[in-house]
């Protein structure tokens, strides 16, 4: 079987170290927010349920 060689031209840039660092910081911030949201919703739900959280009569 012959080997096909194809050249792809990608329309892209190479990020500098500073840009990569800033992208990483943005990603970490988004990750922290995404982790905090369900924790806040869970905590608020438990607080609203109050003593009823132990009621498992269903």
């Amino acid at each position: 079987m012959s080997i096909e060689t194809e050249k792809y031209i990608l329309d892209a840039v190479t990020l500098t170290d500073a840009q990569q660092k800033m992208r990483r910081r943005r990603n970490i911030a988004i990750a922290l927010i995404l982790a905090a949201l369900p924790i806040m919703f869970f905590a608020s739900t438990i607080i609203r349920l109050g003593a009823n959280v132990a009621d498992r009569t269903f």
Partner: protein, 326 residues
């Protein structure tokens, strides 16, 4: 299966660079700057006072969620304001280094960021606290972005008078987070900030008038003249001082607050009189700067007094254990 050697050639075209540079030049700090943190601080503080002053009980965690949502909503308003005004911001020395005019964030990114935060803060406040407060927050964002930024600001020198309402709503939202409604007490908190805003902003306008003129924003000193603005500042200072003591007069606050509000109100009127009296030269600019600085101190002290007084009431009049939800 065929063997394929893929040779990748990365090519830096102008299109590619334009698409990437805006996105990757932005740091977290730039996004934070879009939220107007200095305005957000004042919003958080006044909303906290509204929340503490309100009768009734809210669990401290839900209280924290309320303040967080109000802060994010206020930040979203600031972000959408910067998106809409980025061309004007480039013309003013005070704002030309903001993230959008300086090119660190693209307008589309700011718009997306602002909209996500607006919807997110309202949805979260509604789901976790109450929908009345959430509706109020949504209205405040709409009022600041559409009514003030897009409609009033470029059209009338009364922009700051009517638009100032958006800065006065946060304590009412904090209050509504606890009670789920509006009362005379929360309306008073609104009125104090609403009446305080024109004197505060016009004092600033008196010494940075040229910036607003360059951007063609019709502020009172440029449109109606400095003499008229000085009269208006004085009138609003008197009204603010009267509104400031009303919580004590109507029995919502104690004697310590009342006496302090009276003294601070006299100070506010005194500094406004100096602005009215000195209308030429370096002393006129100094008077305006002094009034601007004192107006900030006035509002901070007034709301701090309310916060401290009501915090003591909560801790000593009511049961501390019930407050902590233990």
């Amino acid at each position: 299966m065929s063997d394929m050697n893929v040779e990748i050639d990365t090519k830096q075209t102008s299109h590619g660079l334009n698409a990437m540079v805006g996105e990757d030049m932005a740091d977290i700090r730039d996004y934070f700057e879009l939220l107007k943190p200095s305005v957000m601080r004042l919003v958080v503080f006044t909303a906290l006072v509204g929340l503490v002053v309100a009768p009734g009980y809210i669990h401290p965690f839900n209280g924290f969620i309320s303040i967080l949502c109000i802060a994010i909503g206020a930040g979203a308003s600031g972000c959408l304001n910067m998106w809409y005004e980025h061309k004007l911001d480039a013309l003013m020395s005070r704002t030309k280094n903001r993230p959008i005019p300086s090119g660190r964030i693209t307008p589309d990114q700011a718009l997306t960021f602002g909209l996500i935060l607006s919807v997110g803060s309202v949805a979260m406040l509604g789901t976790l606290v109450n929908w009345f407060a959430a509706g109020f927050l949504a209205f405040t964002i709409f009022y600041y972005v559409v009514v003030y930024t897009m409609w009033l600001k470029p059209r009338t020198p009364l922009n700051i008078v009517i638009g100032g309402a958006s800065g006065a709503f946060p304590p009412m939202i904090g209050y509504a987070s606890v009670t789920g409604d509006v009362s005379i007490e929360s309306l008073l908190l609104f009125l104090i900030i609403f009446m305080w805003t024109p004197a505060h902003f016009w004092a600033l306008n008196l010494y940075i008038k040229r910036d607003y003129e360059n951007a063609n924003i019709p502020m009172m000193p440029s449109v109606r003249g400095e003499a008229h603005t000085r009269k208006q500042i004085l009138a609003y200072a008197y009204i603010t001082a009267i509104c400031g003591i009303m919580p004590s007069v109507l029995g919502f606050a104690g004697v310590i607050y009342g006496v302090s509000a009276l003294v601070l109100g006299v100070g506010f009127i005194y500094f406004s009189h100096l602005v009215y009296k000195h209308d030429k030269g370096a002393i006129a600019i100094k008077s305006a700067k002094n009034l601007f600085a004192f107006s900030l101190l006035y509002l901070m002290l007034l709301f701090t007094l309310l916060l401290v007084e009501h915090s003591f009431n909560i801790l000593f009049t009511f049961n501390i254990i019930q407050f902590l939800g233990v």
